[in-house]
Symmetry: C2
Subunit: 190 residues, 2 copies
DNA sequence: GTCTATAGGGTGATAGAC
DNA sequence: GTCTATCACCCTATAGAC
Protein backbone atom coordinates (compact mmCIF):
# COMPACT_ATOMS: atom_id res chain seq x y z
CA UNK A 1 0.00 0.00 0.00
CA UNK A 2 1.91 2.97 -1.34
CA UNK A 3 5.46 2.61 -2.59
CA UNK A 4 5.48 6.19 -3.73
CA UNK A 5 8.19 7.88 -1.66
CA UNK A 6 6.70 11.34 -1.81
CA UNK A 7 3.29 10.07 -0.70
CA UNK A 8 4.79 8.19 2.22
CA UNK A 9 6.78 11.23 3.29
CA UNK A 10 3.60 13.28 3.20
CA UNK A 11 1.72 10.76 5.29
CA UNK A 12 4.53 10.76 7.83
CA UNK A 13 4.55 14.53 8.14
CA UNK A 14 0.76 14.53 8.46
CA UNK A 15 0.84 11.90 11.17
CA UNK A 16 3.59 13.78 12.98
CA UNK A 17 1.64 17.03 13.02
CA UNK A 18 -1.57 15.28 14.04
CA UNK A 19 0.01 13.57 17.02
CA UNK A 20 1.83 16.68 18.21
CA UNK A 21 -1.44 18.61 18.08
CA UNK A 22 -3.65 15.91 19.52
CA UNK A 23 -1.45 14.52 22.25
CA UNK A 24 1.51 16.85 22.69
CA UNK A 25 5.06 16.87 21.41
CA UNK A 26 6.12 14.28 23.93
CA UNK A 27 3.74 11.72 22.51
CA UNK A 28 5.02 12.17 18.99
CA UNK A 29 7.64 9.45 19.19
CA UNK A 30 9.10 7.95 16.07
CA UNK A 31 7.22 4.76 16.75
CA UNK A 32 3.87 6.51 17.24
CA UNK A 33 4.32 8.60 14.10
CA UNK A 34 5.35 5.62 12.05
CA UNK A 35 2.41 3.54 13.28
CA UNK A 36 -0.06 6.33 12.53
CA UNK A 37 1.35 6.60 9.01
CA UNK A 38 1.17 2.86 8.53
CA UNK A 39 4.89 2.13 8.40
CA UNK A 40 7.45 0.86 10.87
CA UNK A 41 10.00 2.89 12.78
CA UNK A 42 12.67 1.71 10.38
CA UNK A 43 10.50 2.72 7.47
CA UNK A 44 10.16 6.21 8.87
CA UNK A 45 13.88 6.51 9.39
CA UNK A 46 14.50 5.61 5.79
CA UNK A 47 12.58 8.70 4.67
CA UNK A 48 13.64 10.97 7.50
CA UNK A 49 17.06 10.08 8.83
CA UNK A 50 16.41 11.60 12.23
CA UNK A 51 13.73 13.27 14.27
CA UNK A 52 15.24 16.62 13.37
CA UNK A 53 14.78 15.76 9.71
CA UNK A 54 11.13 15.05 10.45
CA UNK A 55 10.81 18.50 11.98
CA UNK A 56 12.39 19.94 8.84
CA UNK A 57 9.75 18.13 6.83
CA UNK A 58 7.08 19.74 8.95
CA UNK A 59 8.58 23.19 8.46
CA UNK A 60 8.70 22.65 4.72
CA UNK A 61 5.03 21.79 4.82
CA UNK A 62 4.37 24.86 6.95
CA UNK A 63 6.02 27.17 4.44
CA UNK A 64 4.05 25.69 1.58
CA UNK A 65 0.69 25.92 3.32
CA UNK A 66 1.46 29.38 4.64
CA UNK A 67 2.27 30.62 1.16
CA UNK A 68 -1.07 29.33 -0.08
CA UNK A 69 -2.86 30.94 2.84
CA UNK A 70 -1.11 34.23 2.20
CA UNK A 71 -2.59 34.21 -1.28
CA UNK A 72 -6.08 33.54 0.11
CA UNK A 73 -5.60 36.29 2.62
CA UNK A 74 -4.52 38.74 -0.07
CA UNK A 75 -7.62 38.07 -2.15
CA UNK A 76 -10.09 37.64 0.72
CA UNK A 77 -13.33 39.56 0.06
CA UNK A 78 -13.55 40.74 3.68
CA UNK A 79 -9.96 42.00 3.52
CA UNK A 80 -6.73 40.63 5.02
CA UNK A 81 -7.31 41.98 8.54
CA UNK A 82 -10.69 40.39 9.10
CA UNK A 83 -9.57 37.25 7.33
CA UNK A 84 -6.62 37.01 9.68
CA UNK A 85 -8.59 37.56 12.84
CA UNK A 86 -11.39 35.21 11.89
CA UNK A 87 -9.14 32.36 10.81
CA UNK A 88 -7.07 32.79 13.96
CA UNK A 89 -9.86 31.34 16.04
CA UNK A 90 -9.80 27.64 15.33
CA UNK A 91 -11.92 25.11 17.15
CA UNK A 92 -11.93 21.67 18.65
CA UNK A 93 -8.52 20.28 19.42
CA UNK A 94 -6.60 18.63 22.24
CA UNK A 95 -7.75 15.11 21.66
CA UNK A 96 -9.96 15.89 18.73
CA UNK A 97 -8.44 16.57 15.35
CA UNK A 98 -7.96 20.00 13.89
CA UNK A 99 -9.63 20.05 10.52
CA UNK A 100 -7.77 22.90 8.86
CA UNK A 101 -4.39 21.62 7.61
CA UNK A 102 -2.55 24.92 8.08
CA UNK A 103 -3.88 25.37 11.61
CA UNK A 104 -2.76 21.90 12.47
CA UNK A 105 0.75 22.46 11.16
CA UNK A 106 1.06 25.84 12.87
CA UNK A 107 -0.02 24.47 16.21
CA UNK A 108 2.41 21.61 15.83
CA UNK A 109 5.20 24.02 14.95
CA UNK A 110 4.52 26.25 17.92
CA UNK A 111 4.45 23.32 20.30
CA UNK A 112 7.80 22.25 18.95
CA UNK A 113 9.06 25.81 19.20
CA UNK A 114 8.29 25.81 22.90
CA UNK A 115 10.72 22.96 23.31
CA UNK A 116 13.50 25.36 22.36
CA UNK A 117 13.89 24.49 18.68
CA UNK A 118 15.23 27.69 17.09
CA UNK A 119 14.42 26.60 13.53
CA UNK A 120 10.72 26.44 14.32
CA UNK A 121 10.75 29.85 15.97
CA UNK A 122 12.37 31.62 13.05
CA UNK A 123 10.17 29.81 10.53
CA UNK A 124 7.10 31.02 12.40
CA UNK A 125 8.50 34.51 12.83
CA UNK A 126 9.02 34.85 9.07
CA UNK A 127 5.45 33.83 8.30
CA UNK A 128 4.09 36.08 11.00
CA UNK A 129 5.97 38.97 9.47
CA UNK A 130 4.47 38.31 6.05
CA UNK A 131 0.97 38.27 7.49
CA UNK A 132 1.46 41.55 9.24
CA UNK A 133 2.81 43.25 6.17
CA UNK A 134 -0.30 42.25 4.29
CA UNK A 135 -2.50 43.73 6.99
CA UNK A 136 -0.34 46.85 6.99
CA UNK A 137 -1.02 47.37 3.30
CA UNK A 138 -4.76 47.16 3.90
CA UNK A 139 -4.72 49.72 6.69
CA UNK A 140 -2.81 52.17 4.53
CA UNK A 141 0.63 51.67 6.05
CA UNK A 142 -0.46 52.23 9.64
CA UNK A 143 2.24 50.09 11.20
CA UNK A 144 0.86 50.23 14.71
CA UNK A 145 -2.72 49.45 13.76
CA UNK A 146 -1.47 46.52 11.73
CA UNK A 147 0.37 45.18 14.73
CA UNK A 148 -2.70 45.75 16.88
CA UNK A 149 -4.86 43.73 14.53
CA UNK A 150 -2.32 40.99 14.33
CA UNK A 151 -2.01 40.85 18.10
CA UNK A 152 -5.77 40.44 18.35
CA UNK A 153 -5.59 37.51 15.97
CA UNK A 154 -2.66 36.03 17.83
CA UNK A 155 -4.46 36.44 21.14
CA UNK A 156 -7.50 34.60 19.81
CA UNK A 157 -5.17 31.97 18.45
CA UNK A 158 -3.46 31.50 21.80
CA UNK A 159 -6.76 30.81 23.54
CA UNK A 160 -8.18 28.54 20.91
CA UNK A 161 -4.98 26.56 20.52
CA UNK A 162 -5.30 25.70 24.20
CA UNK A 163 -8.92 24.71 23.80
CA UNK A 164 -10.32 27.83 25.46
CA UNK A 165 -13.27 29.06 23.35
CA UNK A 166 -14.04 32.66 22.40
CA UNK A 167 -17.81 33.02 22.77
CA UNK A 168 -18.09 36.48 21.26
CA UNK A 169 -15.87 35.96 18.22
CA UNK A 170 -18.30 37.57 15.80
CA UNK A 171 -18.44 40.73 17.88
CA UNK A 172 -14.67 40.86 18.05
CA UNK A 173 -14.40 40.48 14.29
CA UNK A 174 -16.95 43.25 13.79
CA UNK A 175 -14.99 45.57 16.08
CA UNK A 176 -11.79 44.86 14.18
CA UNK A 177 -13.55 45.70 10.94
CA UNK A 178 -14.60 48.97 12.52
CA UNK A 179 -11.03 49.78 13.47
CA UNK A 180 -9.75 49.03 10.01
CA UNK A 181 -12.44 51.09 8.31
CA UNK A 182 -11.94 54.05 10.62
CA UNK A 183 -8.30 54.09 9.59
CA UNK A 184 -9.38 54.67 6.00
CA UNK A 185 -11.97 57.37 6.62
CA UNK A 186 -10.77 59.30 9.64
CA UNK A 187 -7.14 59.78 10.58
CA UNK A 188 -5.40 57.20 12.75
CA UNK A 189 -3.93 58.93 15.70
CA UNK A 190 -0.22 58.20 15.30
CA UNK B 1 22.47 24.37 53.88
CA UNK B 2 18.75 24.86 54.42
CA UNK B 3 16.82 22.33 56.42
CA UNK B 4 13.72 24.44 56.25
CA UNK B 5 11.20 22.35 54.32
CA UNK B 6 9.19 25.27 52.99
CA UNK B 7 12.30 27.03 51.72
CA UNK B 8 13.50 23.89 49.95
CA UNK B 9 10.11 23.38 48.34
CA UNK B 10 10.20 26.96 47.13
CA UNK B 11 13.67 26.55 45.68
CA UNK B 12 12.55 23.40 43.88
CA UNK B 13 9.52 25.08 42.33
CA UNK B 14 11.68 28.02 41.32
CA UNK B 15 14.26 25.77 39.71
CA UNK B 16 11.54 23.82 37.95
CA UNK B 17 10.01 26.95 36.43
CA UNK B 18 13.38 28.32 35.46
CA UNK B 19 14.42 25.21 33.61
CA UNK B 20 11.10 24.80 31.82
CA UNK B 21 11.33 28.41 30.64
CA UNK B 22 15.00 28.38 29.79
CA UNK B 23 15.40 25.00 28.19
CA UNK B 24 11.92 23.59 27.56
CA UNK B 25 9.69 21.19 29.43
CA UNK B 26 11.66 18.23 28.19
CA UNK B 27 14.81 19.38 29.91
CA UNK B 28 13.08 19.80 33.23
CA UNK B 29 13.85 16.31 34.50
CA UNK B 30 13.72 15.52 38.18
CA UNK B 31 17.49 15.29 38.25
CA UNK B 32 18.01 18.65 36.53
CA UNK B 33 15.52 20.37 38.81
CA UNK B 34 17.02 18.82 41.90
CA UNK B 35 20.54 19.78 40.87
CA UNK B 36 19.52 23.37 40.14
CA UNK B 37 17.90 23.58 43.57
CA UNK B 38 20.97 22.10 45.22
CA UNK B 39 19.47 18.78 46.32
CA UNK B 40 19.53 15.26 44.94
CA UNK B 41 16.80 13.52 43.01
CA UNK B 42 15.83 11.62 46.14
CA UNK B 43 15.70 14.86 48.06
CA UNK B 44 13.29 16.33 45.56
CA UNK B 45 11.05 13.29 45.71
CA UNK B 46 10.83 13.60 49.44
CA UNK B 47 9.19 17.01 49.08
CA UNK B 48 7.23 16.28 45.92
CA UNK B 49 6.28 12.64 45.67
CA UNK B 50 6.00 12.72 41.90
CA UNK B 51 6.50 14.98 38.95
CA UNK B 52 2.77 15.68 38.94
CA UNK B 53 3.10 16.91 42.50
CA UNK B 54 5.84 19.25 41.34
CA UNK B 55 3.49 20.63 38.71
CA UNK B 56 0.89 21.14 41.41
CA UNK B 57 3.45 23.09 43.35
CA UNK B 58 4.03 25.28 40.34
CA UNK B 59 0.30 25.89 39.91
CA UNK B 60 0.00 26.83 43.56
CA UNK B 61 2.78 29.35 43.04
CA UNK B 62 1.05 30.61 39.91
CA UNK B 63 -2.20 31.27 41.75
CA UNK B 64 -0.43 33.12 44.52
CA UNK B 65 1.60 35.35 42.18
CA UNK B 66 -1.41 35.93 39.94
CA UNK B 67 -3.50 37.07 42.89
CA UNK B 68 -0.80 39.57 43.82
CA UNK B 69 -0.57 40.78 40.23
CA UNK B 70 -4.33 41.17 40.04
CA UNK B 71 -4.12 43.53 42.97
CA UNK B 72 -1.37 45.54 41.27
CA UNK B 73 -3.39 45.63 38.10
CA UNK B 74 -6.47 46.85 39.95
CA UNK B 75 -4.59 49.74 41.52
CA UNK B 76 -2.32 50.55 38.57
CA UNK B 77 -2.17 54.31 37.90
CA UNK B 78 -2.34 53.81 34.13
CA UNK B 79 -5.39 51.59 34.52
CA UNK B 80 -5.84 47.80 34.22
CA UNK B 81 -5.96 47.73 30.40
CA UNK B 82 -2.67 49.49 29.78
CA UNK B 83 -1.09 47.67 32.69
CA UNK B 84 -2.14 44.35 31.18
CA UNK B 85 -0.89 45.14 27.71
CA UNK B 86 2.41 46.57 28.86
CA UNK B 87 3.23 43.76 31.25
CA UNK B 88 2.29 41.22 28.58
CA UNK B 89 5.42 42.05 26.62
CA UNK B 90 8.23 40.42 28.52
CA UNK B 91 11.79 40.31 27.31
CA UNK B 92 14.82 38.11 27.03
CA UNK B 93 14.17 34.44 27.45
CA UNK B 94 14.92 31.13 25.76
CA UNK B 95 18.31 30.56 27.25
CA UNK B 96 18.40 33.72 29.24
CA UNK B 97 16.45 34.02 32.43
CA UNK B 98 13.14 35.79 32.76
CA UNK B 99 13.41 38.30 35.54
CA UNK B 100 9.78 38.76 36.47
CA UNK B 101 8.69 35.85 38.70
CA UNK B 102 5.08 35.83 37.51
CA UNK B 103 6.08 35.88 33.84
CA UNK B 104 8.42 33.00 34.45
CA UNK B 105 5.77 30.92 36.14
CA UNK B 106 3.16 31.70 33.51
CA UNK B 107 5.47 30.74 30.67
CA UNK B 108 6.36 27.53 32.45
CA UNK B 109 2.69 26.76 33.00
CA UNK B 110 1.80 27.36 29.38
CA UNK B 111 4.64 25.19 28.18
CA UNK B 112 3.38 22.44 30.42
CA UNK B 113 -0.16 23.04 29.22
CA UNK B 114 0.93 22.39 25.67
CA UNK B 115 1.96 18.93 26.76
CA UNK B 116 -1.69 18.14 27.33
CA UNK B 117 -1.89 18.71 31.08
CA UNK B 118 -5.50 19.73 31.71
CA UNK B 119 -4.82 21.09 35.19
CA UNK B 120 -2.48 23.72 33.82
CA UNK B 121 -4.94 24.76 31.13
CA UNK B 122 -7.82 25.31 33.53
CA UNK B 123 -5.59 27.09 36.03
CA UNK B 124 -4.50 29.50 33.33
CA UNK B 125 -8.02 29.90 31.99
CA UNK B 126 -9.27 30.94 35.44
CA UNK B 127 -6.59 33.59 35.81
CA UNK B 128 -7.15 34.86 32.30
CA UNK B 129 -10.83 35.25 33.08
CA UNK B 130 -10.07 37.31 36.16
CA UNK B 131 -7.81 39.63 34.20
CA UNK B 132 -10.43 40.22 31.55
CA UNK B 133 -13.10 41.00 34.08
CA UNK B 134 -10.89 43.66 35.55
CA UNK B 135 -10.37 45.21 32.13
CA UNK B 136 -14.08 44.99 31.50
CA UNK B 137 -14.78 47.05 34.59
CA UNK B 138 -12.41 49.75 33.39
CA UNK B 139 -14.00 50.01 29.95
CA UNK B 140 -17.44 50.39 31.47
CA UNK B 141 -18.68 46.88 30.88
CA UNK B 142 -17.88 46.81 27.17
CA UNK B 143 -17.39 43.06 26.97
CA UNK B 144 -16.08 43.04 23.42
CA UNK B 145 -13.61 45.87 23.91
CA UNK B 146 -12.33 44.14 27.03
CA UNK B 147 -11.73 40.98 25.04
CA UNK B 148 -10.07 42.98 22.30
CA UNK B 149 -7.65 44.55 24.74
CA UNK B 150 -6.93 41.23 26.34
CA UNK B 151 -6.28 39.64 22.96
CA UNK B 152 -3.79 42.38 22.18
CA UNK B 153 -1.97 41.63 25.38
CA UNK B 154 -2.09 37.90 24.72
CA UNK B 155 -0.80 38.43 21.19
CA UNK B 156 2.16 40.43 22.48
CA UNK B 157 2.71 37.76 25.07
CA UNK B 158 2.73 35.00 22.47
CA UNK B 159 5.48 36.72 20.51
CA UNK B 160 7.62 37.67 23.43
CA UNK B 161 7.32 34.26 25.08
CA UNK B 162 8.90 32.86 21.93
CA UNK B 163 11.65 35.44 21.98
CA UNK B 164 10.25 37.51 19.11
CA UNK B 165 10.52 41.20 20.07
CA UNK B 166 7.88 43.88 19.55
CA UNK B 167 9.80 46.97 18.39
CA UNK B 168 6.88 49.38 18.57
CA UNK B 169 5.50 48.38 21.93
CA UNK B 170 5.12 51.93 23.19
CA UNK B 171 3.04 52.88 20.17
CA UNK B 172 0.83 49.85 20.66
CA UNK B 173 0.30 50.72 24.29
CA UNK B 174 -0.59 54.29 23.34
CA UNK B 175 -3.12 53.07 20.82
CA UNK B 176 -4.72 50.80 23.38
CA UNK B 177 -5.00 53.73 25.76
CA UNK B 178 -6.74 55.63 23.01
CA UNK B 179 -9.23 52.81 22.50
CA UNK B 180 -9.99 52.60 26.19
CA UNK B 181 -10.44 56.35 26.56
CA UNK B 182 -12.68 56.61 23.51
CA UNK B 183 -14.96 54.07 25.15
CA UNK B 184 -15.44 56.48 28.05
CA UNK B 185 -15.99 59.68 26.10
CA UNK B 186 -17.68 58.66 22.87
CA UNK B 187 -19.89 55.63 22.45
CA UNK B 188 -18.27 52.31 21.59
CA UNK B 189 -20.13 50.87 18.68
CA UNK B 190 -21.72 47.74 20.09
C1' DG C 1 15.59 15.40 55.43
C1' DT C 2 18.62 13.98 52.31
C1' DC C 3 21.47 10.67 50.06
C1' DT C 4 22.90 6.49 46.74
C1' DA C 5 21.62 2.61 44.11
C1' DT C 6 18.74 0.45 41.19
C1' DA C 7 14.58 -1.21 39.06
C1' DG C 8 11.55 -0.77 35.06
C1' DG C 9 9.97 1.39 31.08
C1' DG C 10 10.53 4.14 27.00
C1' DT C 11 13.25 6.62 23.10
C1' DG C 12 16.23 7.72 19.10
C1' DA C 13 19.08 5.56 16.10
C1' DT C 14 21.85 1.59 13.79
C1' DA C 15 22.46 -3.00 11.32
C1' DG C 16 21.22 -6.06 8.38
C1' DA C 17 17.49 -9.29 6.31
C1' DC C 18 13.93 -9.28 2.71
C1' DG D 1 11.53 0.71 0.36
C1' DT D 2 10.29 -1.46 4.22
C1' DC D 3 10.86 -4.62 7.96
C1' DT D 4 12.72 -6.77 12.54
C1' DA D 5 16.09 -6.89 15.86
C1' DT D 6 19.00 -4.62 18.97
C1' DC D 7 21.94 -1.00 21.32
C1' DA D 8 22.86 2.69 24.32
C1' DC D 9 20.86 6.16 26.69
C1' DC D 10 17.65 8.75 29.66
C1' DC D 11 13.65 9.23 32.66
C1' DT D 12 10.48 8.42 36.71
C1' DA D 13 9.99 6.28 40.82
C1' DT D 14 11.17 3.02 44.71
C1' DA D 15 14.11 1.04 48.55
C1' DG D 16 16.78 1.52 52.00
C1' DA D 17 21.23 3.62 54.22
C1' DC D 18 22.72 7.67 56.86
Amino acid sequence: MARDPAATRDRLVDAFAEIVVGSGARSATLEAVAAAAGVSKGGLLYHFGSKDALVDGLLERLRKLAAEDLEQMRTAPEGPAVYYVRTSATEGLQGDEVVDPLSRVIIATMRLAQEGDTRTVSAYAAINEAWRQLIEVQVGGDRVLARLVQCIGDGLWASSSMGIPTPDLDDVVARVQQLVESSRHGDGGA
